[in-house]
Amino acid sequence: MAAISRDEVAHLAHLSRLAVTETELDTFAGQLDVILQAVARVGEVAAADIPPTTHAVPLTNVLRDDVVVPGLTRDEALSGAPDAAEGRFRVPRILDEELEP
């Protein structure tokens, strides 16, 4: 049985904000199935009582002193933006239906 279907790949691509084409879907569905079948081998390990490792370095709550240090200026922060206006990032419209007549 396939680990992942073409429809699932399409759904995940949508959730990941990837406007994949039909051709890409055809290619990915097969490839991702091979990969997922292979990585599913982790399930063979008896690990029910084993704590998960999220991180190799056991540091927690790393805080710095609350001291002002120089950061990026507004112009520097905006310097790489594909579109900026009035000192802000300009984005396409966010509200959909409400704006439609």
Binding site: V91, P92, R93
Partner: protein, 491 residues
């Protein structure tokens, strides 16, 4: 005098300190070499000749003024394009960042500039460091200087090829599952992955944050250690940075070069001594182990039963973190934006931008990650992979009670022909079979040239306990002193 481009960084540093050459001369020699051969190798995505010469002049002026300079002041370095460089194009080999000039330097860049290193340019890589051959670069592959029809490894193939082609004496790589070590192995160069947290990730464009580790690439073990010492150490801007001094890596490399390994216990991982590796790789590995024994090392066999699950665990953990990290490429704050015609919504523009900006491997990993993290699959995939990660770390801890370092081949096969593994992405993943366990555990590992198979370089991997990076440098330098030097054919 030997050609400047053939010298090690330590040799160049000595000549520079003695005033026998200027930093400008050294930079010019390497820029000329790049101009001569990089059309064939394609190690660089961007060459910053002007910046390199300005930095070299500054070093020469400081030296003339009597300033105290470090051992690598005036020595050139090539930097993987996943490290941010202020005002210099940084793309991570992705179309989505084409033309981006970061407004800040990565911490390791700042440290290299402060130490007087001269940055030549940015090197090619698999897009966002996802790949094992540099064929997933959006700007075309890099070619292995040993055989231009073969891959230079990946993801840091550009950095490794720049060293093997004598375009740079030092380079920076980043290692998430082997991206420093595997390119080092297949290009006959040295690549070291420091302890996770031993080098700062600030300014490293994130792929898998719990695994990504910047590190040194060089043509000698001592050179790698010298660069490691400069870039390593605590950084308050990286909350996973270890607040401890850099292990004595340079001293260890010098000690190893004396060729005495008496009292050192080297562990051979039972599970990693041949399965899936080419016969020529296994032969070179075994001969190297014998060479280490002649230097006084004691061989012990250790068992790490969960290592065979490292590859599947990695290819769940890394894509999961990637799918989260790469959400920042939304066409709003930096890089590409596609389809913003005043009619399309933010979501449509975002989706179009990401589809146009990311290559196939990046998309595959984002989708796998989204799958492994989704409700219903999380426990079976991501959660289980993290438990396996714990077991792999325990395997290391047990092994290091019996051995000071562990040895394996760096990669199961020598450089393969371009195109040989791109059709089946999982075949590409197998290149990382031996390099992944240290990333999951967090400990350091180095690849050092150990022989040839069918005329192509083979690497030996030395793995050490967390924050015992010095041990791997000692053993690697000892091996380097005991075997002949392998030089690629002239380009």
């Amino acid at each position: 005098m030997t050609e400047l481009t053939r010298m090690t960084a330590a040799e160049l540093g000595g000549l520079l300190a003695a005033g026998e050459v200027s930093a400008v001369q050294v930079a010019r020699a390497h820029l000329d070499r790049i101009a001569e051969v990089d059309a064939q190798v394609h190690a660089f995505l961007h060459v910053d000749a002007e910046g390199a010469l300005a930095a070299a002049r500054a070093v020469d002026e400081a030296r003339a003024a009597g300033a105290q300079l470090g051992p690598l002041a005036g020595v050139p370095v090539a930097v993987k394009d996943v490290i941010t460089t202020k005002g210099i194009p940084t793309t991570a080999a992705s179309k989505i960042l084409q033309g981006w000039r970061p407004p800040y330097d990565a911490t390791i860049m700042t440290r290299m500039r402060d130490a007087g290193l001269v940055m030549l340019g940015k090197t090619n890589m698999d897009e966002f460091a996802m790949g094992s051959s540099t064929e997933y670069s959006a700007y075309g592959p890099t070619y292995n200087p040993w055989d231009l029809s073969r891959i230079p490894g990946g993801s840091g193939g550009g950095s490794a090829a720049a060293l093997a082609a004598y375009e740079a004496p030092l380079a920076i790589g980043t290692d998430t599952g082997g991206s420093i070590r595997q390119p080092g192995a297949v290009t006959g160069t040295v690549g070291a992955k420091p302890t996770y947290g031993g080098t700062s990730r600030y300014g490293l464009i994130a792929f898998s944050s719990s695994l990504d580790t910047p590190g040194p690439c060089a043509r000698s073990v001592l050179d790698a250690a010298l660069l490691h010492e400069i870039i390593g150490g605590h950084d308050p801007r990286d909350s996973t940075s270890i607040p401890a001094p850099v292990p004595p890596v340079v001293e260890a490399a010098r000690r190893g070069a004396t060729g005495d390994l008496s009292g050192v216990r080297v562990g051979l991982v039972k599970e990693f001594t041949g399965d899936g590796a080419e016969p020529g790789v296994v032969a070179a590995f075994r001969e190297s182990v014998e060479a280490l024994v002649k230097l006084g090392a004691e061989v012990v066999e250790v068992s790490c039963p969960h290592f065979s699950y490292a590859l599947p665990a990695y290819y769940l953990i890394a894509p999961s973190e990637c799918s989260s990290n790469l959400a920042r490429f939304d066409g709003v704050r930096f890089g590409l934006r596609v389809g913003d015609d005043g009619q399309r919504s933010l979501e449509e523009v975002m989706s179009a931008t990401r589809d146009a900006g990311f290559g196939a491997e990046v998309k595959r990993r984002i989708i796998i990650g989204a799958y492994a993290l989704s409700t219903g699959y999380y426990e079976a995939y991501y959660g289980q992979a993290q438990k396996v990660r714990t077991l792999i770390s325990r395997d290391f801890a047990n092994a290091f009670t019996r051995a000071d370092v562990l040895l394996s081949p760096t990669t199961p096969f020598v450089a393969f022909p371009l195109g040989a593994r791109t059709a089946d992405p999982y075949q590409m993943y197998l290149a990382d079979l031996y390099t992944i366990p240290p990333n999951l555990y967090g400990g350091p590992a180095i690849s050092v040239p150990c022989g040839l198979s069918e005329g192509l370089p083979v690497g030996l991997q030395v793995m050490a306990p967390t924050m015992a990076d010095d041990r791997m440098y000692r053993v690697a330098a000892a091996l380097e002193s005991a075997i002949p030097q392998f030089v690629p054919p002239a380009l």
